[in-house]
């Protein structure tokens, strides 16, 4: 199996687990209450508010063949491309349309920043930057892949059951359009990264498995307890 198909297969598996999770199904079916919707929106914001910083890290370790593409993604995320739509601002707009006040939005930004601080402060198990870079690239690309498949569905349930206007859902609509292209480009970037840094198959597979030991989508969008229920670790 090629690197590309292994990664795509993992992404498909993770995405399938997300859509069949209790939390996602409750939101999509309209069974979820307002708080569940708002928690989901808050978690989406927390997960993606610091994406420009993550992309900046990926830019710093990108191989020459894909550096322009990663740079473009980063500038796009920052709103410094031709479209001029900073993605963190789209997330703030989503939160505002969901009724989060200034203090609530500030809190989301603080939590996202704290998470980034924790990530950069903790002891690192990998021995080299190229390994950390691969793990970060795999996870970042997984979200783009998943969003390219699911952001329309997410926008739909937030509009239908939570009453968020199309204007407020721009982050999702933007991702559904842009990430189909991004997802493809990111898969190319991963293949290029593995080749450039000369990962052997076993090394690459270990990092792929470790990155997705847990379902990153359920964990980040619905929290640790939801994930533990889904995996049968707790009832």
């Amino acid at each position: 199996m090629s690197v590309r198909s292994q990664v795509e297969s993992e992404y498909a598996k993770q995405t399938e687990a997300l859509t069949s999770s209790e939390g996602f199904q409750a939101l999509e079916s309209g069974r979820a209450n307002k708080k569940a919707h708002d928690d989901f929106i808050a978690n989406v914001c927390k997960t993606h508010l610091r994406s420009p910083q993550i992309l900046a890290f990926l830019f710093s370790v990108a191989p020459p063949e894909s550096v322009d593409e990663v740079k473009h993604n980063m500038l796009e995320e920052l709103g410094l491309d031709e479209e001029g739509l900073p993605h963190p601002q789209l997330l703030v707009k989503l939160a505002k349309h969901a009724g989060f006040n200034d203090q609530g939005i500030k809190q989301l930004e603080i939590l996202a920043q704290e998470e980034l601080k924790r990530m950069t402060s903790e002891q690192i198990l990998y021995g080299t930057m190229k390994e950390i870079g691969l793990s970060a690239l795999l996870e970042t690309a997984s979200f783009e892949w998943m969003l390219s498949h699911l952001s329309n569905r997410m926008a739909k349930f937030l509009e239908k059951h939570r009453g968020i206007s199309k204007e407020g859902l721009e982050w999702f609509s933007h991702h559904s359009e842009v990430d189909i292209r991004h997802a493809e480009e990111q898969l190319d970037s991963i293949v290029e990264y593995v080749k450039y840094y000369q990962f052997d198959q076993s090394h690459f597979e270990s990092i792929l498995e470790l990155t997705f030991r847990e379902n990153v989508f359920i964990k980040r969008y619905f929290g640790e307890i939801a994930l533990a229920r889904q995996t049968g670790m707790i009832n």
């Binding site: 903790e122 002891q123 198990l125 021995g127 990092i207 470790l210 670790m233």
Partner: protein
């Protein structure tokens, strides 16, 4: 300083994946956290893990012992203090003496409960004095090196985990064995981790005295550094007999719960290693007392951990591991490698090579995040005025 309240929190923190050995398969940590609050508002956190097959404690009985025996004893003391003394055992002794010991049918010792209270007291008193535990237990090394642990799973899974540890630069692993396919699993670990890796095995008392030597000697060509608890806890002379027949050094674990156990094992010349665990041994002081006995008797040491320890016991383990004169193997500090989320403000997992720095912050050197603690609480008991 007076302690005015205690909160006992029985947790249920899910694991990332299940952890299996012969005595139990676990999918979540059932740690008990004790929060003590002093009259001036300073709080301290301690932790214990009740294990029926180790100390005889269950979560329920341990909570009851804490509430009915340990808390009333603590609440009666007017002036707690930890003195800075050149002998750490003396520094901790007066405080630790306030924790009573009671006998109970089927309980070897209330050590998990004691450990939780002792650690909470140490954390609270040292925070109040703005001191780090590293001032009481001065570290003899700046970095502690941890081992990996591989559960008794299918060979494919064992190989996968061994690969991860190799990728993480871990050179010492303990493999859980259960009497089924052990040789195949261990050969796979040796092949994956390489000829220089240190491999220990842990039977959790899976074998009988009659059959153990033959089975375990059949593994000695794989170069096993030691076998932990080959037979169940019992008469130390059984272990001594097995030791005389084995080609692999013996480490005691479930057989070593109390200081009296240590004395008897030493007297019977029953083992080559002691596996100390802070929760199992009843706290830092008793762990150090056993370590001292071991070192005087020429017995080597492992500082182990209970499966599912949070940042609190991990921190206490880090201090003890850094302080001990000589420690051959250290386990624990697995944090979010095992727990889906840890309760500390910062993760204190070991990093590449199993290396982790000494902690220097006040008290145990970690800050517990109350909002995370609340997420995983299964049961809370508030203890106030007695």
């Amino acid at each position: 300083m007076r302690i005015v309240s205690a909160t006992l929190l029985a947790l249920k923190i899910p694991f990332v994946e299940s952890f299996r050995h012969t005595a139990k398969t676990r999918t979540f940590s059932d740690s008990i956290v004790v929060r003590l609050t002093a009259e001036n508002g300073v709080t301290g956190y301690g932790e214990g893990l009740a294990r029926p097959y180790v100390t005889g404690e269950t979560v329920e009985s341990s909570l009851e012992y804490m509430q009915k025996v340990l808390w009333p004893a603590i609440a009666r003391i007017d002036d707690f203090e930890i003195s800075q003394n050149s002998n750490p055992i003396q520094s901790l002794a007066s405080m630790e003496r306030s924790l009573p010991d009671k006998r109970a049918q089927g309980v070897v010792a209330w050590n998990a409960a004691r450990a939780a209270f002792e650690l909470a007291l140490v954390d609270c008193l040292l925070k109040n004095q703005k001191l780090s535990l590293s001032k009481i237990l001065p570290p003899r090394r700046t970095t502690v090196i941890y081992s990996g642990v591989i559960t008794a799973s299918a060979t494919e899974k064992v190989i996968q985990v061994a690969k991860y540890f190799k990728l993480f630069g871990i050179t010492q692993v303990k493999v859980k064995i259960d009497g089924k396919n052990d040789r195949k699993r261990l050969l796979a670990v040796r092949e994956t981790m390489g000829k220089d890796a240190s491999i220990r095995i842990d039977a959790n008392g899976a074998f009988s005295l009659n059959g153990a030597a033959k089975i375990l000697n059949g593994l000695s060509d794989i170069r096993i550094d030691c076998v932990e608890q080959p037979i169940p806890r019992g008469n130390p002379s059984d272990l001594a007999k097995l030791k005389s027949e084995l080609k692999i050094p013996i480490m005691t674990d479930e057989s070593l719960v109390t200081v009296e156990d240590a004395e008897q094992l030493i007297s019977a010349k029953a083992c080559d290693f002691f596996n100390l665990r802070i929760s199992k041994c009843g706290g830092i002081l008793r762990t150090l007392q056993i370590a001292r006995l071991a070192q005087e008797a020429g017995i080597k040491l492992q500082l182990g951990a209970q499966v599912g320890e949070t940042v609190i016991l991990s921190a206490a383990g880090r201090h003890v591991a850094a302080y001990l004169d000589r420690v051959d193997f250290v386990e624990g500090s697995y944090g979010t490698m095992l727990l889906t989320e840890d309760i500390g403000d910062e993760k204190i997992n070991f990093g590449h090579g199993g290396k982790a720095p000494v902690l220097r912050g006040e008290g145990l050197g970690v800050r517990v995040r109350e909002e995370i603690l609340r997420k995983y609480v299964d049961k809370v008991i508030e203890c106030g005025k007695v």
